[in-house]
């Protein structure tokens, strides 16, 4: 086991660290998300072809990217949990999975909303949308497996193994879907893959990307804190933490 990592294998130390970092992440999330959204949705120039409807990329693209990134992070946590048998890494899986799945759903919904003015229909079998749909299935599988076992640790191990298998398959799935898409829908113009983007549109996109990244991390941290408390409920530190929270809310 890595020595330097060891202190954070202790749930209490992890909790303290996350607790300390979370407000900062939350604050930066609010700022960058607000800037990115307002800039992108209100001030960025309209597209000469798509008009204002393209603006949904400021939500669609970041959520699609971080839905994939969250799955990758989950698989990394799974590998750490399996190899070094670190329990806190096991608990990161139920913390990440629903957030990633939510990002996937956002990407699917915004894709559908974008599709309506573009193609006149809510759903087309576009490569990225199809990939996102399959990603959602993968998330559902991991979550279903995690909660299927009576023993939490067994569930976590099973979900870790599946997440790793999924991450190995993800590129294969991604490229097969893209290949399939060009094969069957060669005529459809793919609006999602833009070869180039004007700088005035790019900057707000980058800010939104940062915002979504921080949002994903903050949400995961919040869930992770809950997981830590849930699993350590009988330990004194968790009890103390909970009663402190209670006093705080009673005082307000």
């Amino acid at each position: 086991m890595w020595r330097w990592l060891h202190p954070y294998a202790k749930p209490e130390a992890t909790y303290r660290l996350v607790d300390k970092l979370l407000p900062w992440f939350a604050a930066f999330t609010v700022v960058s998300l607000a800037v990115g959204m307002i800039w992108g949705l209100a001030y960025a120039p309209a597209d000469y072809q798509q008009g204002d409807s393209y603006r949904i990329i400021y939500i669609h693209v970041p959520s699609a990217i971080f839905s994939m990134a969250a799955y990758f992070a989950m698989a990394v946590m799974g590998a750490i949990a399996l190899i070094w048998q670190i329990k806190t890494a096991e608990w990161a899986i139920p913390a990440i999975a629903p957030v990633g799945a939510a990002m996937t759903v956002v990407a699917l919904l915004t894709g559908a909303i974008w599709g309506k003015p573009m193609w006149g229909t809510w759903w087309v079998w576009d490569a990225r949308l199809t990939s996102e749909l399959i990603l959602l299935f993968l998330y559902v599988g991991v979550m279903a497996l995690y909660y299927a076992f009576d023993d939490v640790r067994t569930g976590a191990k099973a979900a870790s193994i599946l997440a790793i298998v999924g991450v190995v398959n993800l590129p294969i799935i991604h490229y097969s879907v893209e290949w399939w898409n060009t094969l069957h829908q060669g005529a459809t113009i793919t609006k999602f893959e833009r070869p180039s983007i004007a700088t005035s549109m790019l900057w707000p996109l980058l800010v939104s990307l940062l915002g979504f990244k921080l949002l994903t991390i903050s949400l995961v941290m919040m869930r992770f804190k809950n997981e830590l408390l849930r699993h350590e409920l009988h330990r004194p530190w968790a009890q103390k933490e909970l009663s402190a929270d209670k006093e705080l809310s009673d005082g307000v």
């Binding site: 202790k10 749930p11 048998q85 329990k87 009576d150 023993d151 939490v152 350590e232 009988h234 330990r235």
Partner: protein, 231 residues
């Protein structure tokens, strides 16, 4: 805390198998904690305890099937994980699930047990297998599908491995289950033989062992009233 009841020990070398500070936490409940246990060649250990005390769990940990929640198991002084190959060559484990295939006949079951046990000269219809089946009173049933035999007879088919294996260390979970008086006596004689040849046995049983001359040592798993601790 679980205290092993130790009797006088003759051998002071490295134990054949020892458990160092082994704990089991399952579903947030501590089955046993910080268990120390050492077995030397030629010893017979009986692990006893109430239902749910963790006897089978301990056996599975000692056999290397389960990872202890903390602590480690050592074979000839080597950690099991690093020494798996050598350890499993010297180990015969019969769990409460007997690994007998109901679709195969007794003779076929014995053959494949021998085969997977690493005996490359094993043949179907091996002379030795007939001997083993005869000793266990299974003659006349050898062609019958094992699934059609009674529970006691199936158990006997599983226990043929004690005769066919050359392993040094036996780990047996409730070997006497479903056996009749004759079967139990037969098994205990086999134990005696194995111990006399320098082999070792760890077993669980609710039954007291009947043979007075078996050098029995006991480990009792007492129930713990303790909340689970992390790590």
């Amino acid at each position: 805390m679980t205290k092993p009841v130790t009797t006088q020990r003759v051998n002071t070398d490295t134990p054949l198998l020892h458990a160092d500070g082994v704990s089991s936490i399952r579903g947030g409940r501590v089955l046993f904690a910080q268990l120390q246990f050492a077995l030397y060649s030629g010893e017979l250990w009986q692990i006893s305890g109430a239902n749910g005390a963790g006897k089978s769990t301990l056996l599975r940990m000692l056999a290397g099937l389960l990872q202890p929640s903390s602590g480690g198991v050592f074979f000839n002084g080597h950690k099991l994980a690093a020494y798996r190959n050598e350890f499993h060559q010297q180990l015969l484990y019969i769990g409460h699930k007997a690994a007998v295939k109901p679709e195969l006949s007794a003779l076929e079951n014995v053959f494949w047990q021998r085969r997977l046990g690493g005996d490359k000269s094993a043949q179907l219809n091996d002379e030795r297998d007939w001997d083993v089946l005869e000793q266990l009173g299974l003659l006349g049933l050898e062609e019958e599908l094992t699934g059609r035999l009674s529970a006691g007879q199936q158990r006997r088919v599983a226990l043929t491995r004690l005769w066919s294996s050359t392993a040094e260390l036996w780990i047996l979970d409730e070997p006497f289950t479903a056996l009749d008086v004759d079967g139990i006596a037969l098994l205990q004689q086999r134990f005696k033989q194995h111990l006399d040849n320098g082999g070792s046995i760890i077993m669980t049983s609710h039954q007291p062992l009947g043979l007075a001359d078996l050098p029995l040592q006991q480990l009792t798993l007492a129930p713990l009233q303790q909340e689970a601790m992390s790590e």
